[in-house]
């Protein structure tokens, strides 16, 4: 299970869901493994606004992973700032057909030439490549333990807990 998934999982019990202590689930006796995944900075950009940064910091600490900066980063921090001039000059020439076209091309061009920052690479590694293979996830509200085996967490509840 990726750390990405862990930052969104809650206890499955209905009575726990409204309780703030049912999130995040606490990993114990965790075995981590790095599984390489293709880098996708545009996914990170889409994800960033809904990432719960304090939770991610708690999880890093629980796993004994290097600490994260205190403040959640802004979207711009995922990309290197574009250098002045350069690539943009071509765009001006192409855009004689009308203003709308210019804007479109500029935006596209920007997206394609913007290079991902080290922070984006670190986040990718942490969220998508770092996985919990074995261990347990414990609910801070009811104490229920969800077992993780071969990277798959068992969220099936016995009937009396549903």
């Amino acid at each position: 299970m990726k750390i990405l998934t862990l930052t969104f999982l809650t206890c499955a019990r209905k009575s726990c869901k409204p309780e703030p202590t049912s999130y995040p689930l606490h990993p114990t006796s965790a075995e981590l493994e790095i599984i390489p995944v293709d880098f996708n900075p545009l996914f990170l950009r889409a994800l960033l606004p809904r990432l719960d940064w304090p939770t991610l910091r708690i999880l890093c600490e629980a796993f004994g992973l290097p600490g994260l900066q205190e403040e959640a980063p802004e979207e711009d921090a995922l990309f290197l700032q574009p250098e002045e001039g350069g690539a943009m000059e071509d765009v001006e020439v192409q855009g004689e057909k009308g203003k709308e076209v210019v804007e479109d091309v500029e935006k596209k061009g920007e997206e394609e030439t913007r290079e991902a920052s080290q922070l984006a690479k670190d986040l990718h590694h942490l969220l998508l490549e770092t996985t919990m293979q074995e261990g347990k996830l414990v609910c801070g509200c009811c104490g229920h333990e969800y077992a993780v085996k071969e990277g798959i967490a068992n969220f099936l509840l016995p009937a009396h807990l549903v």
């Binding site: 889409a46 479109d104 990277g151 798959i152 068992n154 549903v162």
Partner: protein, 272 residues
């Protein structure tokens, strides 16, 4: 023909041999792939997204999500839920890219509110219509599923569930449960009236405007949005206008579109 849901509960039906056979059958692979592509088109995602796959099985549907090229807004990242450990084991063997949980969708969706951009479910929801135990009824399980799904999606998010309803009554039971949970809902049928009919339940979360816009211009669309009745009358967007607008959008993106004629947006019937 007997339906697998009538024989056994899903975790027992999809045992090791059945899960292996299911996954390696090339006819099944093709059908699941084409239905997943259809669901993706209905989701209309424009950037790499986080997607929940309900009843993800061995990852036939999920693999399609991972393979969407950047030009088409991908690749997407998915998290799967499935009740069959054997299906999940096959998924692990296949080295699929998604993360997976062993979980019963009829017990809810254990994610924070607003986690997912979108959700798909390919050939799974009919399983929720058979109660697993005497403890909970089928409507109770559907309710828990759709309420959980609704909460787990971000506002503006969509879900598409392709499923095999036993009959019209079951189709209605499923879409009613989704609507009750808060979704805007539309039913789309490909190949209606044939044995190969495919039913897609298209669900929206807090989308302004109504679902007709999403499924307009597709043949055999049956819009079933009960919320609409409460709206002012006569607001239904004109299908032709909607198509013309979409053509403009496509053209704007540099795509080649057919010229607009008097036939545009007309219902076609193939007469034999």
């Amino acid at each position: 023909m007997s339906r697998p849901e009538d024989i056994l509960p899903p975790d027992l039906y999809y045992d090791d041999p059945t899960s292996k056979k299911y996954t390696s059958n090339s006819r099944i692979q093709n059908i699941q792939a084409s239905m997943t592509h259809r669901a993706l088109a209905l989701l209309n995602l424009t950037e790499p997204s986080l997607i929940l796959d309900v009843g993800s099985g061995s990852g036939l549907s999920g693999a399609i999500l991972s393979a969407v090229p950047p030009e088409q807004g991908g690749p997407h990242t998915w998290i799967g839920m499935d009740i069959s450990a054997s299906m999940l084991a096959v998924a692990l063997e296949r080295d699929v890219e998604g993360d997976m949980l062993l979980a019963d969708a009829g017990q809810g969706v254990p994610f924070r509110p607003g986690t997912f951009d979108a959700a798909i479910s390919i050939s799974a929801v009919q399983w929720l219509c058979n109660a697993e135990s005497s403890v909970e009824s089928a409507p109770g399980r559907l309710k828990r599923f759709f309420e959980g799904l609704y909460a787990s999606l971000r506002r503006g998010g969509r879900a598409v569930c392709q499923f095999y309803p036993r009959d019209d009554k079951q189709k209605k039971m499923v879409s009613d449960a989704a609507i009750k949970a808060g979704f805007g809902a539309g039913l789309l049928e490909d190949g209606g009236g044939t044995k190969q009919v495919k039913v897609y339940l298209v669900l929206t979360v807090g989308e302004s405007g109504d679902i007709t816009g999403i499924v307009a211009g597709m043949d055999g669309v049956d819009v079933e949005d009960h919320r609409k009745r409460r709206n002012k009358k006569g607001e239904r967007p004109n299908k032709r206008d909607e198509i013309i607008r979409r053509k403009h959008r496509m053209e704007g993106k540099g795509k080649v579109v057919k010229a607009t004629t008097k036939y545009t947006g007309r219902k076609r019937r193939i007469a034999f």
